[in-house]
Point group: C2
Chain length 438, copies 2
C-alpha cells in the first residue's frame, strides 16, 4: 500500500458492508465457546479442501509480482506453498483449542441485597486489519477474530490479492456450514477502501496493522480508532559493571542475531565504562564473527569499534545485523539513554548485582524489562499465550505481547429487583459491597 | 475554555515543564504505598492549613465572575466554601486509605527453569487533566494522580484561576514535606498551554477531560493521546411486555429525575407496544407530577404524550427534565434503537421474563447493561470502587465507571540466568509455562 495520500470518506457501499459486518459480529458475540470452536475447525477443513486452489492463486500472484520486479525479500513473504499453508491451517486448529477468552467473570459483587454486579469479558466487536504481503496472515487474523467473537474487515497487500481472495472464499465457505455467519469476515480489495477503513469509527473497534513501521505510523496518525501494535521497536541491552561477561556476551549475541528483523531484537548495546575495556575486546570479534556490523560512540571506538555511530543511529531500528554501541558512565546514564531513545518495547540488563538489577527493573518504563536474559523472549508464544495478536508499545493496556485477551473488553451487568438510586440517597437503603465468588 | 481555534505546538517553556514533570513522575512511580499514602495525608493537611486563603481566592474569582455575568449554574459550580473544601479534603484522606493499585501481580509464570515472568501493575506516567469551572476537581484529580503514582498536568477553567493557584500552592507545599516531589503536580494557566497539552504525546500518557460534551469531543478529535471519558451519555430504559408496571415506573422516574444532569440518567424511554396502552396512561401523569416534559413518537402521542419528538431527539442528551418516549414493536426494535442512537454508556430493561432479560443483557453492547434497576447505579462509588476517575464509553478497557485501576497499566518483568532464545529454537531447551502463585 502506498501511504501518502489523504484519507477519503468511506463510500456508501463500504459503509453498507461495514454495517452488515457489524450486525453479523453482534450475533457472533453471542455465540458460545463450542460454536466458535466448531467454526474454527470448519474454517481449517475448508482451507484444507481448497489448498490446491489457494496455492494456484498464489502462484499467479508470484508470477505477477515477478513481472513487476518485486524485491526478493517480499517475494519470499508473498509465497504460500503447501507446507506454509499446512502450518497456517494447523495454527487455526490450535487456536480452536485455546481457552475461551469470552465470558470470564472479573468481578462479582452484591452492591446490596438483590442488586448484583458482574464484570464479564465480551468481544470488542469488529477488527480492522491492514497488512502487507504475507497472505498467511489473513488466515491467522481471521481465526483470532472468530475465536475471540469479533468480526474482521481485512485488507491485504495488493501483491497477494488473488491468494487473499482464494483464502477468504475458503474461510467463508467453511463458516457457511456453522453457527457463525460468513458475513463476519470481509475482505477489502481496493486501496481506497483500506484508507476509508481508518474512518469507520463506530463500526470498527480496533485496528491491527501488520507491516512496516511506516505503515503503522501512518495508521496511528490517521485514525481515531484505537490501534494495536507498534511502530519502532528500539530495544536496549545494558551490560552493567557487575555483569558476568561471558553471560552478557551470550545474551547480547542472541538478542541481536537470533532474528535481526524482529522488533524484539536489540538495536543498541550500552556498556558500563568500568567493564568496557574488558567486555568490548571480547565482544567485538564475537560480533564480527556472526556478521554484525558495529557502530559506536567515541569511547567504544577507542576500544575497537571501527565505525562511528551518529545521533540518528541511537534512534534507528536497523532490523538488520547492525548494532550501535555506547559506553555509559553508570546505570543512570543508561536509563537516560533508554528513556530518550527507547520505544518502551523491551529493554534488558545483565548484572550479578541484585540491587542494581532491581533498580533497573523498577526504573525502566517499557512493556518488558528483563534481567539476565535475551530480549528475544518478548513474544506471545514464549510467554505462553498460545497465540499472538501483536506486540503493543503503547502505555495503556493491552501492552507488550498481546494474546487473545487483547481482542476482548468487558461489560458490567447489574441485576436488581426494582432497586432505585434515590433510596440510597435518602438513607433508606445502604450499599453493602459484598464480593461474591467469581 | 473556548474550543474553536487550532491546536498550537507546545512552547519550549511548556516542553521543559512537561519534561521536568515527567522526570518527577518517574521517581513517584518508584515510591511505595506508604510514601504515597503519607503524601496524600500531607496534601490534605496543607489544604486544611490554607483553607482560609483558598476560600478567599475563590471569593475573588466569584466576584470577577459576577462582574463578567457568568451564568448562575456555573457560579454554583465555581463556588468553593469552607464546607465544600472540607468535603474535598475528606475525599483526599479517603483516597489515602484505598488499597494500593500499584505492584499487583497479575501473572506469575515460569517459562522454564530459572526463567520467571511476572506482570505487575505500574503507573501510567503523567495525566493531562482539563476541566471546567469546579475547582474542587483540582483537589480530587491531584489526589487520584498521586495515589496511583502518576504525575499530573492540570488545566482548570479561567473563571477559577485564583482558586486553582491557591489550591495548587497548598498541594505543592504539602508534597514538599514528603518523599513525593512537588514537581509531580503542575498547573497550566493559559489557554494556549491547555491546547498545546493535547500535543504532548510521549510526555503525557492519558488525558482526562472533565466538562461539557463539547469539551470532551474537541479533545478526542484533537489529540493522539488516549482520552478517558465520554462525550454523550444517551441512556435508555426499555419497558418490556413482561414488565411489572409499577416497578417499571419507579425505575423510569428514578433513572430520569434522581439527577437529570448526570450522564447515567436516561434520555429515552422505549415501551413495548403490547403494554404501552397500560403503561403510558400511568406514566405520563407521574412524569408530569415531577416536572418531566415528555416528547413522543406518533404511537406514544396517541396514548397521551403531548409533544412530538423529532429525529434529533433520539440523539439528544437533554441533561434536563425532558424525556423522549417511543413505542416499539418488540425487543428487537428496542435493541435496534439503542444500537443506532445509544452512547454505549448504560442501558436497562424492566421485565419479569428472565429469558427476555438475559437476551437483552447479552445483546446490548454498552459498558453497563441493567435488569430491573435504575441506570443511576452506573457510578464508581456505587460499584464500590471508592473513587471515580470518570465513566468511559469507549470499547477498549477501562470501560464504564473507572476507579484507580483506570490510572494504572502493567509491565512484564522477566528474570533469567543467562537464558537465550536460540536454545529454544534448536530444541536444546523447551518452555515449561508453569504458573506460579500470584
Amino acid at each position: 500500500m502506498s501511504i501518502s495520500a489523504g484519507v477519503p470518506e468511506p463510500s456508501p457501499e463500504l459503509l453498507k458492508r461495514a454495517m452488515q459486518l457489524r450486525a453479523a459480529a453482534m450475533q457472533l458475540g453471542q455465540t458460545d465457546n463450542e460454536q466458535r470452536r466448531s467454526a474454527l475447525m470448519a474454517m481449517a477443513m475448508s482451507l484444507q479442501a481448497s489448498a490446491e486452489k489457494i496455492v494456484q492463486a498464489n502462484g499467479q500472484d508470484l508470477e505477477n509480482a515477478r513481472t513487476e520486479g518485486l524485491a526478493s525479500a517480499l517475494m519470499a513473504r508473498l509465497k504460500l506453498d503447501q507446507a506454509k499453508l499446512a502450518s497456517a491451517i494447523e495454527g487455526v486448529k490450535q487456536l480452536a483449542e485455546l481457552p475461551d477468552p469470552l465470558g470470564l467473570r472479573q468481578l462479582h459483587r452484591a452492591l446490596d441485597q438483590g442488586l448484583v454486579l458482574e464484570r464479564l469479558t465480551v468481544p470488542l466487536g469488529v477488527l480492522g486489519v491492514i497488512f502487507e504481503a504475507r497472505p498467511d496472515a489473513v488466515i491467522q487474523i481471521a481465526a483470532l477474530a472468530i475465536r475471540s467473537g469479533n468480526g474482521a474487515l481485512l485488507k491485504g497487500g495488493s501483491e497477494a490479492s488473488l491468494t487473499n481472495v482464494a483464502i477468504m472464499e475458503a474461510l467463508k465457505e467453511g463458516l457457511a456450514k456453522t453457527d457463525v455467519s460468513s458475513d463476519c469476515l470481509e475482505l477489502l480489495t481496493t486501496r481506497q477502501e483500506s484508507l476509508a477503513l481508518l474512518r469507520l469509527d463506530g463500526l470498527v473497534d480496533l485496528i491491527i496493522p501488520r507491516g512496516s513501521n511506516e505503515l503503522v505510523r501512518f495508521i496511528q496518525d490517521n485514525t481515531r480508532i484505537p490501534v494495536l501494535g507498534h511502530a519502532d521497536g528500539i530495544c536496549h541491552l545494558y551490560v552493567d559493571a557487575a555483569a558476568d561477561l561471558p553471560q552478557a556476551l551470550r545474551i547480547a549475541i542472541d538478542s541481536k542475531t537470533h532474528y535481526p528483523a524482529a522488533c524484539n531484537s536489540i538495536e543498541t548495546l550500552l556498556v558500563h565504562e568500568s567493564i568496557a575495556a574488558d567486555f568490548l575486546p571480547l565482544a567485538i570479534p564475537a560480533f564480527h564473527q556472526v556478521g554484525v556490523r558495529l557502530l559506536g560512540d567515541a569511547a567504544s571506538q577507542a576500544l575497537g569499534v571501527e565505525e562511528a555511530a551518529s545521533e540518528d543511529d541511537w534512534a534507528t531500528e536497523y532490523l538488520d545485523l547492525i548494532l550501535s554501541v555506547k559506553v555509559v558512565a553508570d546505570m543512570d546514564a543508561a536509563l537516560d539513554h533508554i528513556r530518550r531513545y527507547g520505544s518502551r518495547h523491551t529493554d534488558a540488563i545483565v548484572s550479578n548485582d541484585q540491587q542494581v538489577a532491581e533498580r533497573f527493573l523498577r526504573a525502566v518504563d517499557s512493556a518488558g524489562v528483563y534481567h539476565n536474559c535475551s530480549t528475544r523472549f518478548a513474544d506471545g508464544f514464549r510467554y505462553g499465550f498460545g497465540a499472538e495478536v501483536g506486540i503493543s508499545t503503547q502505555t495503556m493496556p493491552p501492552r507488550g505481547p498481546v494474546g487473545l485477551e487483547g481482542l476482548v473488553t468487558y461489560r458490567y451487568r447489574l441485576r436488581g429487583d426494582g432497586h432505585i438510586a434515590a433510596d440510597y440517597g435518602d438513607g433508606s437503603r445502604t450499599f453493602t459491597h459484598q464480593d461474591l465468588p467469581l
